[in-house]
Symmetry: D2
Subunit: 395 residues, 4 copies
């Protein structure tokens, strides 16, 4: 945007743009999920006698066609469409006529948004897990090849006790395995079918079979009562975001370690030139920009979690449009996490430790010596500790 806060646009268009927000762009990734859910909904309407065979078939085929066309780039969601759901219903009606106007019976855009988001969340958590598994594999590869290299184990960033590259990798492997377990557990809140709650109060007078869409869409349960659905908005999203924040926290800490190891003073590691960059002014520089950007990304993902939680806070129950604002931080955080994890997995595969530059200082063995004293002389640990401490203080 090089026009600086230009006010040329008519006010009503600005209101439309304000309410639609980025949905017409963001919702591209929801199209396939809305199609799946709409087909399940149509088939259930058919089962319940609200749709004729032909209408149901027209809807199912129409939606499948629209998804193919969308994937082929033949149409996209425009600002005028507002969002994926309106875009699909309008295009469906244009494509198959009358039948399209029948698909919205017994549902609301509110439960449509939710069902699409939840199906998306289930896929998204899988995608993050797949990335993190790649990172764990990268750590395992590093441990397998260079795991025996000795490393000062530190506490307080001070030499503490002897460690190895293998132990260092192992800490992060456990952390990311724990992250994967957390990501999988985060699915629980997304795995509840909202369809049939309509605007949050069901469909009075209609006979909607919520269990049917639950089965068709593979959800673990039907969320009920109907009023629970809208109240829960943002919670499945926050739960995934929290797990992303933890993964990014570990990733940022891994980046911190590597940046330390890459300083001239440590020189523990070399990085391949493919993951370092130069300087516009200093001809000699090879900078670990990737690591810095990963470290910074942890803050960005945590901010997304905050944003999601703040948007839902204090709202009276019943759907509130504020919740539309949850999508941008959700999508941002997922993309940024996957990109960061993948780039780190790639970087790790190129890290080389320099055993020659890593000094295992004498003090790393002090605790071991105290343990030896205990073993040899049978004295209490505290006495051994004091004797060794005295030796070090005098040296």
């Amino acid at each position: 945007m090089s026009r600086l806060w230009d006010k040329g646009e008519p006010l009503d268009e600005r209101v439309l743009r304000y309410t639609a927000g980025e949905d017409h762009n963001l919702d591209a990734r929801l199209v396939r999920y809305d199609v799946r859910a709409s087909i399940a909904h149509a088939e259930m309407l058919h089962e319940q006698g609200y749709l004729s065979d032909e209408d149901c078939r027209a809807i199912v085929d129409g939606l499948s066609t629209l998804l193919e066309q969308f994937d082929a780039g033949e149409w996209s969601i425009t600002l005028e469409d507002e969002d994926a759901h309106t875009a699909l219903e309008n295009r469906l009606t244009a494509l198959v006529g009358d039948a399209g106007a029948r698909v919205h019976l017994g549902r609301s855009r509110n439960d449509q948004v939710l069902v699409a988001l939840r199906l998306f969340l289930l896929d998204a958590s899988d995608a993050v897990v797949a990335s993190v598994e790649g990172l764990v594999a990268s750590l395992q590869g590093l441990a397998a090849e260079q795991g025996d290299v000795e490393l000062p184990g530190t506490t307080h960033m001070q030499h503490a006790m002897p460690s190895t590259v293998g132990l260092w990798c192992g800490a992060y492997e456990e952390a990311f395995a724990d992250g994967i377990a957390g990501l999988r557990a985060s699915r629980r809140r997304a795995d509840k079918n909202p369809l049939g709650s309509a605007a949050g109060y069901g469909a009075p007078g209609l006979s909607i079979d919520r269990e049917s869409t639950t089965r068709k869409l593979g959800f673990s349960e039907t969320q009920s009562p109907v009023t629970a659905v809208q109240l829960s908005r943002g919670k499945a999203e926050s739960t995934l975001l929290f797990e992303l924040a933890l993964v990014m926290q570990d990733l940022g800490r891994l980046a911190s370690d590597l940046m330390l190891y890459y300083t001239q003073e440590y020189s523990y590691i070399d990085l391949p030139s493919t993951v370092t960059t130069g300087s516009s002014i200093m001809p000699q520089k090879r900078n670990p920009d990737v690591l810095e950007l990963v470290r910074g990304a942890a803050g960005s993902v945590l901010a997304c979690l905050n944003e999601c939680l703040m948007i839902a806070s204090k709202l009276p129950s019943g759907f509130q449009r504020d919740l539309q604002r949850v999508k941008p931080p959700l999508f941002r955080a997922i993309d940024l996490t996957i990109d960061s994890v993948d780039v780190m997995a790639y970087l790790l595969s190129g890290v080389t430790f320099n055993p020659d530059r890593i000094t295992m200082s004498d003090e790393l063995y002090a605790t071991g010596k105290a343990y030896e004293l205990v073993a040899k002389e049978g004295i209490p640990f505290r006495e051994a500790y004091r004797r060794i401490a005295k030796q070090y203080a005098e040296s």
Copy 2:
């Protein structure tokens, strides 16, 4: 503190106070957990041949005595003690002599802090669950007694479709049941035994049986490798804090609903005088302060989650003292959540809905009428929608 930022204190005392922080107060709730973990550690040392029968018995009995005395208020942790762990070891050595100086073999204050915190977290999540169960019971009681009262269901804070007090209660029951499921799931990260990792690099030269303490303390698994333990600090805490934040989010939203219902304009509900307060200037006022404070508390608990996540972010691996700062927000959030949930359960038991004051406006039935049209005339929903919309626009 009425002395305003007085600088009278000697600098070295201020350094001590700065590094010890609030630990000597906060750690009161960790004493029992440190005792349990220290006994398990001593028994394991005994099994491994590092402690004689008498020494082990002296330690176990000594620690049990110290806990009894602590519970009886006979001693407390002082600033000079720094924390629960030092306080116990020093008092143990004073009480049982030499044996006390042997208990620290093969462990570090770092894994001691962690094991005590994790045992505490497991109890704390149970305590929060118990409170939330009380709240759910309160909601169920309200639904049982007044569930049939009709209520306008709203979206966008606008009359949408007919609802009832029962459906309104049901939404929150589901939300808090989901919260309980989340709290239980949050135990996973606390349920890993850190003992035996010592300062994060194990106990070189000693034969420590980590599985033994895992069994004795009832943990589900032994966290390994040893380097994983310190890297994971703050994550079990954050996971509980996140679930607390979600419970408080729902609680804040419940408070928002009730405050709306309690306005003169709504007058949906009455509150008993035990949960309202007066004004210093306006003689007529009965204010729902409890509800406002609950709504505000949601922000405070969310800030605790933020604090915990920010403290751990970007830190190089290996123990870092920064992590001590996780305890205050953790304890604050647990206490504030339990207090808020309990006060709300109590308040709910006194809420009375006023059916006479609740107007079910005609427009609440518009969707139902559209559904009727569809059923009666077989027209597409979109057409029925447009016809009913026209009726309302003209009225």
Copy 3:
């Protein structure tokens, strides 16, 4: 993005994309500022004898031409360019040859980024001020036309004392005037010239006249020493973001008031149909989506402040690439604030209060009656308070 986390892209391209991030898109708004700063830098180099007359003129004319072409849409920043600064230097060298390769003497991309961002921040705060002034004008218009309408003044969302639409508007006028004062004060941190600090350590051996570029660019001071420049990154940004967060907090509270007033139960106000939207399922609905989205936007802007502060936290001094991540939340927050303020100014101009629907309950006058008692009978206020309270309790 309908390709779901596709990994088709070669890894090195992903590294480039990861490090360049969104800069090639985001930097569009920095082009004009980099041109201004580069011209000032070139003229200073010329004054100091490092650039010939012709080279200086070639650079100045070249940059001006590039800006015109950019504004005309003839070129844009590509991913390969990485950012505005590289794009401009490369295009300048292509356009004017050798002279272009001379412009980078004595500066670094680091101080270039900073100077462009600071010039941008000064304009951005002006743009936000202009929007907020429009909002204040809208509030003043509302007060002028409907200010005499009586309104129950509330505390704790309960009727407290008599108020008016004028007093209600006045509160927000003061709030936004205070916001404008804060926005203006926030310029202080942006109003320091970073140019000449180069990568943060000056230009050893060169004679750079930093005061000259300070004058040319209209900065209030030259930031020194050179090492202070990079350490300050993110602080001018955070300071603006904090003020945006306060403006949005007030705006969100204004939205909360209006949503309350727009409920069926209050019915204090009507909103024009241009700022309300319909429902996909409920034919009768007119929803205040704009207000909800404004309320939600307050959380999004606050998250941007958080993000900015978290990115800079704990970093060792000297430039760190993490700081690149400050731009997205900065730009997002500015745009969202301006859009929200503008849409609210527009909405306010269409608000109509319904005096007929606003009930001034008797209890609003209780405090006034107590004051009357004090005046008439000379009794202490506390006694008057108790007597009036008794009357209300009995009624």
Copy 4:
């Protein structure tokens, strides 16, 4: 609290404790400010003819006596008092009788809380400024004594260009001087007299001279209209908290630098034993705990800012009790900032740089060599850059 979430307490006491919160402890620091404001209010009432000479004198003397007694520890605020304001009014009436019951005419606890908090904020920002000035002096002392020591200047944590301890100190001096300027500017929002706004709607029928209390209390302006006062709650607090967060951000970054310099690999500095601590298990350790705790404290203070902003967000206008929750994070952040700044000033006075251990690598001079080439041969900088880069790549 060693009783684990005991529920023994009667419910009504728990409601009282919940609503009073920590006010009876926190408000100790507000007593002096409430006394000052109450005296100004009483004198104004006297000027306006609402208080007789004797009553006014009784109130003024009574309040002064109560403050002396409070400072002498003769009374404190109890849970039953709820807060400082009630405690003072009750004790005043007990002390001087009838006159005490007259002091509350024309004010509310709401504006009393606000005026006391604002007077406190003005003092608190001064106290923080005084601490930060001490830190700046400490940095200047370090620069004066060891400023000539050479230091590698870094970007991306990589050797970049030559620097010195003096330049390093200078960066932080500028940062903290900027912090002081920010702290002073933050006073603007606290420097508005709220007195006379009462509960937010003035004192109908009374003739209150708000300008008089503004003059007496030294405020720069009278906040008006009366409705603006409660709407502004939390903003002066947030503004101070934001500046504290920036000071702590710089302090945390200073701590990060020093921890890096203190690693065995850097060994740039020594720290005196008074600011380092030992390990419970490793006899040789000297840990920079103070620095770690300062780094962690930055996150805690930022969380306080978040908490304050979240508490006020989305609230309808008019006083809301939620705002009581702003005090704990406000007080916590002020105390933690002052403690952290002071401990850091003390630590800095003991830092010794080791020139012998600091290696100025050859690459630090690459940019200088490129500049020399430009100067000597008149070639464009880009060409010089490429030639020097080639030299380094080959070496």
